[in-house]
């Protein structure tokens, strides 16, 4: 895919909404397109995977294995990102990612993104701010999930 085409895709992606054009250009230089078929494992829990994905279309499930079962903890859709920890550090994945349907995404090497951040602190600040926003939203959602707010309890109305 040509850089021009990648720039168009990146401009439309929610993750990059607030990025300056020159920063979008930088993403485009580092991106390549990938596709996954339904039920494909994108990465496994514990696996060393330094890739960061911007999902263009399709749905991805994040799963964690527990004794005797696999728990699905979150699903991600087009417009969202997958593998944010790869941008921060290389290391084992905390979840397994599985495509629930055909998925199209742009993939980036986390190490190269970190290099780009080091070389251009303004780009780095923009990326880290955006990633922090994602992490904060996921943290809030996880807290709400842990509260188990729909569990049965005596209520008076509804």
């Amino acid at each position: 895919m040509e850089t021009k085409e990648l720039i168009e895709l990146l401009r439309e992606h929610a993750f990059l909404e607030r990025f300056k054009p020159e920063h979008v250009q930088k993403f485009a230089e580092l991106a390549r397109e990938v596709r996954f078929v339904r039920d494909q494992i994108i990465f496994r829990e514990g696996e060393e995977c330094g890739l960061f994905y911007l999902i263009l279309s399709g749905r991805v499930a994040l799963e964690v294995s527990a004794p005797g079962c696999i728990l699905r903890v979150l699903t991600l859709e087009g417009g969202e990102q997958l593998g944010w920890s790869s941008v921060l550090e290389a290391g084992g994945k905390h979840f397994q990612a599985r495509s629930l349907e055909a998925v199209r995404a742009l993939v980036f090497d986390g190490a190269r993104l970190r290099e780009a951040c080091d070389q251009d602190p303004e780009f780095g600040y923009a990326l880290m701010t955006q990633l922090l926003q994602v992490v904060a939203e996921r943290l809030q959602a996880t807290r709400l999930q842990l509260m188990d707010i729909y569990r049965p309890r005596a209520v008076k109305l509804i």
Partner: protein, 279 residues
Amino acid sequence: MSQVATVAMTSIRAHVRAIERETRDTFTLTVTPAAGQALRPFAPGQFNMLYAFGVGELPISISGDPEDPDELVYTVRSVGQATHALVSRKPGDAIGIRGPFGTHWPLEAARGKDVLIVAGGIGLAPLRPAIYHVLRRRDDYARLMVLYGARSPRDLLYRKQLAQWARQPDTQVLTTVDYGGLSWRGHVGVVTTLFRCLRPHPAQTVAYVCGPELMMRYVVHQLETRGVPPGDVYVSLERNMKCATGCCGHCQMGPYFVCRDGPIFSYRQVRPWLHKREL
């Protein structure tokens, strides 16, 4: 006691016509009036006091079609003695009904705008009449967006209807569950995560929210973040109600009696009180 107060405090006798299991603990009752009794019309979001004779009386939101004058529909989760007694009724059994009471979803305020419905758990029940209303007058409203979260796939209410609604023009229905097994191919995550799939037009959107209060606080935060004015966000609150007429004071929340001044409030109206402890 005035005639109005007497009517409000007196139950009419009705019969359960049908009872349908929605989930493991939630049932939908269809009720018709006994001979010589008449049902009073209701607006979407209002509730009745339902009396399980000999057990207790409870406020239950009406979940049926407001334009069907011959029956009332309630979706009840069995969580205590009185709700258990209600859902254990058999077709033909009698119950008492008072009301309808309370404020309603201000559907007039949403004419020409996008309607965003956000429901959690059994909170979809009081919103269903509003969905019926909008779908019946599709040209009066812009987009209809329904975001619905439940604990697990088997806790989702009205699954067939959700699928039907999703097929209507200009209608987006997104469901999610907090915990999904591997057989569930839908969305997993709390209801607020569904906002990422929406592109609302804040100035053009009126939002109706019902579910556990904690969920509603997180939802309202999401709406504020996306620029929907607090005056265009409406929430349905619940408190311990007894009289349903604003006389007994059981459901007082700050300056409001939830049974009389609510249960539907604009968020701007109740914002100062939602975060106060002990209210």
